[in-house]
Symmetry: C2
């Protein structure tokens, strides 16, 4: 889809959703009051739009968004219908935040680090280099104060956030040359966004921004030397095994990326309580579904990549990981030093992580090293 | 609560729920049919009972069951109210399966390995020694065929199962003497149920069954030498740090125990589709909530146990884990050899695990060993 400018899109979207979200009254006004029974709903119907930062029907992520909408529609018996748009269909992918904040769409499925330009602290709610993994993030968000901080930050933008998926630990990317030492990053042109890109710069490389559709060609033609993307499933679909022989792990820059559902706060507050609870509950279900689906599909496509014998799957050398971790700490420190809300979030994030790691070290870590060894 | 015999309880329960689940018609019969809109519901109200295998309001597990009921009630605007009973309140804890199968209660929150006497294959749907962890179990259930097999097995008992929580990797238990070699299990009397108990027997120990309320006294008086329970939070509440100095990890016998929601199939089938979807969605939410809550509380109580300086937290020596794994493989093999459905489930479980472990090894395992090292 051809890009038109942002204002045109937002205008178009506003027009579309002003119509789309008109609440229709139905015949039955079920305002029953029974002994202590909650007042349920007025039978109002809602037609909402969800914009996403993924291409339409994008594997796992777009599918998760569609499933979320389906669950809500079925639970509400059709009272809340959500139309899911791919990035660029209603607004360009990276306009999703503004669109929902301003009410041009009622909700979006995205990942919070896309909005670092709005508020740098958003990055802690999706992924920071050498940050927490999925299981730890879920515990922090739910019980370590993470969710409250996220809500506090998003309230400033008239948004309500929900955790709504996780990629799990990602891969480190596709390289045309081997990485043997930290020095091999000198002069390396890699497609890697966000804080990961800043870390790469500290290591002497150049972080190149490429839209999804251009990465393959850029890597093939040597415009870039390397690219990260997600994991075996998405990377295989992108065709990377055809043009880069070295597939590195782990994805130090995204040790788990939380996906978010964000809802326009005024729209959310105007919903009856039962529909609010359905959104919250379906988001939590999608949170688990997306991680499990990534795990299952990545498992399958890792096998396919191996079976084709074109790819060397390699671990970054210890020295390289140690160096990248050092640079990552510097990047996080700079973020925390320059943004007070990031400092506040990082203090909660880091404290929780330190404590939980003591628990992970005698449980999940031992699981992978001993119990589940195959 | 004093125990009365099983028949009395089931009779009592049947009487109670026959009343409790009478569907009440409300004033509004919302059988609206709009252009393609699903037929929603007839406004029927359902009053259901959930029995559990936990003591009333039991931390994390009982709390998770109560939350599940709350979410369903709020989403349904009170159309489906679920009363949660602790074990022994309506039926004895270990009668939950029969109670729900026979319709004496509509649902139960439990763990499938309690029903090994009904069908040995149930154990694969909660925990087997040296089995999968939470993240892998979730992926297997959702995308590896696990859930379909579980449904197939439970359908024989007029039950519909849902994954509804996970303990994560448990602890190995509290010991009065150090375990230095596999030989230290010779003659050891340990409270450890199920397949873990069979493994202990192979190692020369005795698996003793104690109800939860008796474990403390038995361990204090030396009737038993060791006990497993869950993790730091529950174990601390039980008082174990006061009477056993050695706290071993990992919980090789339960590397993650799935909790289940089981629903009487006839009752479930009789629900309108929207309420069915709410049950399914709330169960999936509880699935994540319970794991995160275990993680957060165990993190907190591990610190408390450490701060009291009474407990030595020790890892089972490698030789011990290797020996227990060997015995576990024998125990699983015996199970698979003697029960055709267990064989069928194990084939799916084992194949999925083998494939997913290749993925875990380059992601989560590296996370714990390198990225998230603290």
């Amino acid at each position: 889809m051809e890009k038109i400018n942002r204002r045109q899109f937002l205008k178009k979207a506003t027009a579309a959703t002003a119509l789309g979200s008109t609440a229709l009254m139905t015949a039955c006004a079920t305002e029953e009051k029974e002994s202590g029974a909650p007042v349920v709903h007025s039978g109002k119907k809602f037609r909402w739009n969800m914009v996403t930062t993924w291409p339409p029907k994008f594997p796992v992520l777009g599918e998760g968004a569609e499933l979320f909408a389906k669950w809500v529609e079925e639970m509400s018996g059709g009272r809340l219908k959500i139309h899911v748009y791919g990035g660029g269909e209603l607004v360009p992918a990276l306009e999703a935040f503004d669109a929902v904040s301003q009410g041009a769409a009622e909700m979006a499925h995205a990942s919070a680090y896309y909005w670092a330009g709005k508020a740098p602290a958003t990055q802690f709610f999706s992924a920071v280099p050498f940050g927490m993994n999925a299981q730890q993030m879920n515990a922090w968000l739910l019980h370590g104060g993470g969710m409250s901080l996220w809500e506090e930050l998003y309230a400033k933008f008239n948004l309500v956030p929900f955790a709504c998926g996780n990629t799990g630990v990602q891969m480190g990317g596709w390289f045309r040359k081997k990485i043997n030492t930290l020095a091999d990053f000198q002069g390396l042109k890699m497609r890697i966004p966000g804080l990961g890109g800043k870390v790469l710069k500290k290591a002497g490389g150049s972080a190149i921004l490429s839209a999804g559709g251009e990465i393959f060609t850029n890597l093939e033609r040597g415009v870039i030397d390397a690219t990260e993307w997600v994991g075996p499933y998405h990377d295989y679909i992108m065709g990377f095994p055809k043009i880069a022989p070295f597939y590195y792990y782990p994805g130090w820059h995204e040790p788990s990326s939380v996906l978010e559902l964000m809802v326009n706060k005024s729209a959310f507050d105007s919903l009856p309580k039962d529909l609010q609870m359905m959104i919250q509950t379906a988001a939590a279900r999608a949170n688990g579904w997306i991680l499990s689906t990534f795990d299952a599909k990545n498992t399958e496509y890792l096998q396919i990549i191996k079976s084709e014998n074109k790819t060397q799957i390699l671990k970054f050398p210890d020295e390289v990981l140690a160096g990248l971790k050092r640079f990552s700490n510097e990047v996080i420190q700079e973020l925390v030093d320059t943004d007070p809300f990031s400092k506040k979030v990082y203090e909660s994030y880091h404290r929780f992580r330190e404590n939980m790691t003591a628990w992970s070290n005698i449980t999940e870590k031992v699981y992978y090293n001993d119990i589940g060894k195959m």
